[in-house]
Symmetry: C2
Subunit: 257 residues, 2 copies
């Protein structure tokens, strides 16, 4: 383990030209170890989604803990984003931060914005961690509320959330955003709003998002700022390293001057 | 265990004049058993918040499972609402339903609306369960997004969510809503929108909500429809039964013709 913050670790990866994040969505420690062994030198982060571990009961959660421990042992510079999509009132969020940051030792977490900044303070005050707020999710029905136009500014809700996070929530510099690869136009708009904040982009691969559109619309002013997350299309590929390398190389090629 | 649906169990409780729900927010099985022993004949539901169990690690989640098992053994007609505030994309929500409904055997769950109906189908298709959608939460900063006026109807977001749930999401008759006791005016508005749907009302007790205002604004057309949830002010009371009985009796007195 290192004393780097989550953002330090991200920047280390970006400076080495790494943007791919592997979604470890399978509650099998040995399986995950194999994926990590094959990919740790290529990725900017790992992103286990806790739902798949919870579905496997106590053994699943033990596998999650040991998977995170293994990543930290194998490759301490690669941060772990726990995709948990949490969000409760303040004293309950204190309990979630204990579970996610202190017990599981995740470097970052995804959260729902619906209860507002005040509820999320237990997350936001953890200056060394990363707090990724859901803005525009990758699912087909994401627009039901996220696209609702808000009266005061005539903007869709996801843009209003983006503004709140960028202008008011990010005082510790530890916030990020989640925008699905399936919505590149929305990604472009979010990048305009949030400047150089990190954006986690799921939805390439099994969900059909387009890598080139993500890069064209999502890179920050340093040609960095993106965490491009793939799960099923890497971990269940015949050769996970090959699948990761393919995406990695496409990004390297895109960024060539 | 019985073959009753979640809604059947709720109605059984309401028909017996029970409206109090005890929030079992402490990951200690023996502690919870004592609370259940002291309150099971007075309550319409129990509501453990999973965050407090997650914070206690593997033992905590085992305590949650055994607490739910104990409630079902001691008092099979009293349903368990797992306060988990989940909400992810569809295939991930399948994993959450497995964890919450199949493994833990909860009768109902709380969910975030932000990803829309399409994402929540794995929950909504469980006709025998209860799906409580967050509308207006009890925390002080709840209004940051929930009160944003939406351009098309000039209504605040929480009312738009209420309309979607009542008119479009509830085709299986298994939806409920969450409205904090700390916002009685908003509760009144939600009741007008959703008709006789069940409303889970946290926020009385430690959070300062007023019981009389909740009853005046939240009861349905049958003088039922409310699940009034108290956590800290009951489970940490010197005499939890006495604390439950006091609220129960205030409700009985309010409802006297």
């Amino acid at each position: 383990m290192t004393d780097q913050t989550f953002l330090d670790k991200l920047k280390t990866g970006w400076n080495e030209g790494k943007f791919v994040c592997v979604g470890l969505d399978n509650a099998d420690l040995q399986f995950n170890k194999t994926i990590v062994d094959q990919t740790f030198d290529l990725v900017v982060a790992y992103k286990p989604n806790i739902a798949f571990y919870e579905a496997a009961g106590a053994n699943g959660l033990q596998a999650l803990k040991e998977t995170i421990d293994y990543i930290k042992e194998k490759s301490p510079d690669v941060p772990v984003i726990l995709d948990a999509k949490r969000g409760d009132i303040g004293n309950t969020n204190e309990a979630y931060t204990k579970a996610i940051f202190d017990n599981l030792q995740a470097d970052a977490v995804t959260v729902h914005p619906y209860l507002g900044k005040e509820s999320l303070e237990p997350f936001l005050k953890r200056v060394d961690k990363g707090i990724f707020v859901l803005l525009r999710t990758s699912n087909p029905g994401a627009g039901e509320f996220q696209d609702l136009e808000v009266e005061s500014t005539k903007e869709p809700l996801y843009q209003v959330v983006a503004e709140h996070v960028a202008k008011d929530w990010n005082t510790n510099g530890n916030c990020g955003l989640v925008v699905g690869a399936t919505y590149p136009e929305e990604l472009k708009k979010v990048r305009e709003i949030v400047g150089d904040m990190p954006i986690l982009v799921p939805g390439i691969g099994a969900q059909g998002g387009d890598l080139k559109a993500v890069l064209e619309n999502g890179l920050d002013s340093n040609n960095q700022g993106l965490i491009i997350s793939l799960s099923r299309s890497i971990i269940f590929a015949p050769d996970p390293r090959e699948a990761t390398l393919k995406i990695h190389q496409e990004i390297v090629d895109f960024l060539k001057p």
